[in-house]
């Protein structure tokens, strides 16, 4: 993969952190989806009762907290000068 010509190869600490936060924000929905789907595919009977309910709402809470943390940190950062791939 070639590097974009006019972007620095190494970033200072804050910008680097921000990139990794963005990576985490991209991962979050995928991890959530996997955690929602896999147990039901693997053991539908176990997930159907009260145990399933506890698992589901526990997962839900974790996702909300993770999303809050990520978006809060991302939203606080600088917006101007975002590279064009900053989505």
């Amino acid at each position: 993969m070639s590097l974009p010509p006019d972007q620095p190869i190494f970033l200072e600490r804050a910008a680097y952190r921000r990139r990794r936060l963005r990576d985490a924000a991209r991962l979050l929905p995928m991890v959530t989806l996997a955690a929602l789907l896999l147990p039901v595919w693997l053991m539908p009977a176990t997930m159907s009762g009260a145990g399933g309910m506890i698992w589901l709402f526990g997962l839900w809470l974790v996702v909300i907290a993770a999303s809050a943390l990520l978006h809060w940190r991302l939203g606080r950062g600088p917006r101007a000068g975002d590279p064009p791939d900053a989505f």
């Binding site: 929905p29 929602l36 039901v40 809470l61 909300i64 978006h71």
Partner: protein, 880 residues
Amino acid sequence: MPFDALVIAALIYVGSLFVVAWAADRAAARGRTGWSDRPIVYTLSLSVYCTAWTFYGAVGNASRTGLEFATIYLGPTVVLAGSWWGLRRLVRVAKMHRVTSVADLISARFGKSNTLAALITLISLTAATPYLALQLQSISLSFAAFGPGDVLPGPLELWVAGGLAVFSILFGTRNLAADERHHGVVMAIAVEAVVKLVAFVALGIWVIWGLANGPGDVIARIAARAADHEAAGWVLRADRWTALIAISAAAVVTLPRMFQVLVVEPADETPLNSAAWAFPAYLMAMSLFVLPIAVIGREMLPPDASPDLYVLHLPLSQGADGLALLVFLGGLSSATSMVIISAIALATMISNHWLVPLYLALRRAEGEDAAHASLRQPLLISRRIAILAVIAAGAIYQAVGGGQELAAMGTVAFVGMAQLLPAMLGGLLWRGATRVGAYAGIIAGALIWMGLVFLPSLGWAPGLDWGPVDPLAGAVLVSLGVNMGLFIILSLVTLPDPQERLQGLSFVHAVTPDTAAVSTPQRPDGAIRAEALLTLARRIWGGDEALHFFRAEAERQGKSGFLPDVSAGFLSRLERRLAGAVGAATAHAMLAQFAGQRPTSMAELMAVAGEAQRAQERARQLKDDSDELARTARRLQEANDRLTALSVQKDAFLGQISHELRTPMTSVRAFSELLKLPDLAPDDRTRFAGIIHEEASRLTRLLDDLLDLSVLEGGRARLSPRVVNLHDLISRAIEASSALGGAALVIDRDIPAEHLMVLTDGDRLLQVLINLIGNARKYCDAARPVLTIRVRRLAAATQIDIMDNGTGIPPDKQDLVFEKFSRLNDPARAGGAGLGLAISREVMTALGGSITYLPGHEGAAFRLQLPVRPPGLGAKSAEA
């Protein structure tokens, strides 16, 4: 609870919503959008996702299928949790193009095709009508739960539908601004969202702690119920589970009402940062108590009670009338907010993609000069008609059909709208997606949905036997699979037209289209066309706003007045702004008709791209040039300032030097006259001779200095480099300068560091040191003068810093101290001709080093820098 009290409570509640909406609209009209721009209001308005299907139907669904009810909330949770790279981008692009609806978005991306938008409108309306009917039905069912009664003349549904239509028309079609934001509606929806949540959570808490014995007991009962063979439906089916999560994730962005609140209503994408966690939290709070209510309801209510109405029957059966009323209002909120937003969103689509194009085509067919009529009124009327039509369609459907379980119609609508997802997602992520692909995918998906889901749900067609696969999951897989497959394959094999390619670039890379369209040749009829465009804009936005926009555009081009040049950039901005009112396709068609804008050709597209690149290069070059010019101008300015100051100094010096030369000469002359006197006492003679001698040496010193300087400046100085110890040199300089007199000076030295051997002309360096230390003695004005001397060896140089603790040299004079004839203080005190530092500088230059003034110290500070070896060492040492 008496039925009329219920009706009165409902009326008061609805009335207060009118007041809230009215107040928010008024505030927005005065430019105060502070409240409706808050993330909390945005998040709450998203809860229009939770309709009566959720409020009543979730419990019904849960009592039949267990945990499966939660899928409808899990899809949106996943989408919102990923909003940083999904929704944010969608909102940003939609705002850039002033998109008014989901149909507008897709049609704008695929070359502003109105036919595509009209097709999507048709699909949306088809999917939404039964869904709307369901909401109206839930309202009448919830009224019925409180027992029979008729306080209103005529059927209740008619009143409800009428009230909703009035609200939607009042607050949904008030303005025809350049954006489709409805502050009043959003605020009312937010209030309803709070009522929904409070009602449902209150009911849940009452059930868990009032009817059951806390969470432990409830979980035990859920476990028992799940183990019951009766609850066979509770076992989750992985295919259904996956399909439902997938379509609910798709629905949260494709449903017209969700697109309205999620994308069209916010000012920009920032509130998403809060909604990304707050909306999932809202959904979780709404679902937390569903299963407990379902289980307890099943245990406590008679078997013939409909699970869809457990939430009302439970408090009613226990005599908790207040709670029942709150729950009723919550259900009313769910249904009404959904109907209002859906009606507004669908009416925008119908008006922009069906009625206005039809109207324009009719006008054109009649050959009328469309420029003279206002479009504003027809547009608003078409919106109002569309709202009435949408709500009426729902009401009629409910009156005629009706009767399904609440959940069924919701799922049906979700699967239908999910058919838009491939085109939407592909359009945003893939520049290669084409209109033909979008058409094929959407049409095929919609037809399969019709045949496999929609018609069977109405009982108008038999359902397929899917064998072991769940019918819904199978239908979702087939419809979305065929949809996506056709979309991708046809996109791969077809060629997009230039308009599509421009839009594709703009959507996928989130760049404004007019950055690409830099310039097109001016046409001679520019002013006439600009005027025609102004007329067009005025007909849609009204006079003031149109004039405002045109004046701003003219100013942007550097013109005065109201008529800008009809440039490509201007046309593109005008078109996008018009699109905010009538949709991209209609705006494009209108501009083509009025401004004689020809369709873009591929050659023009390429030309535009080349032009853009050249313009970019030119701009960069211009910037470089102007930067260089600015730097040169500043250097010139500085040189000029220095020259002016020097010339003043020189004039002063000429006066000074004549004075300096004259004073000793005068005394020499006077005292030599005296010496001529014969009867002079020997003592006096000696004294007078001494004075003459002293004055003569002063003259000599002055002339020596001048000579020395001219030798140094001419580069004719002779150097005799040898190895010297800086410590010895500095000590000698201090001694020598103390002989010159001046204030007592405390010298702060770092003796060990000073023992450095340097290769240089020791005598010349000594001269500089004596001068600097002498200056400190003479000029340092501190109460206890301290002179600090520090020596340091660097890789390529040796530094000697000489710093005193006086007031130093004022910043405006720092440039001048090394110039010849420059004097800072009054000449009498200096006692020299102001040549010392000028000579020092010349000496240091001759030694290959430098002397600089160090600003920012307590007092005056100078830094001497010596090279490792003096320049031209070989030749000089031979001479020496």
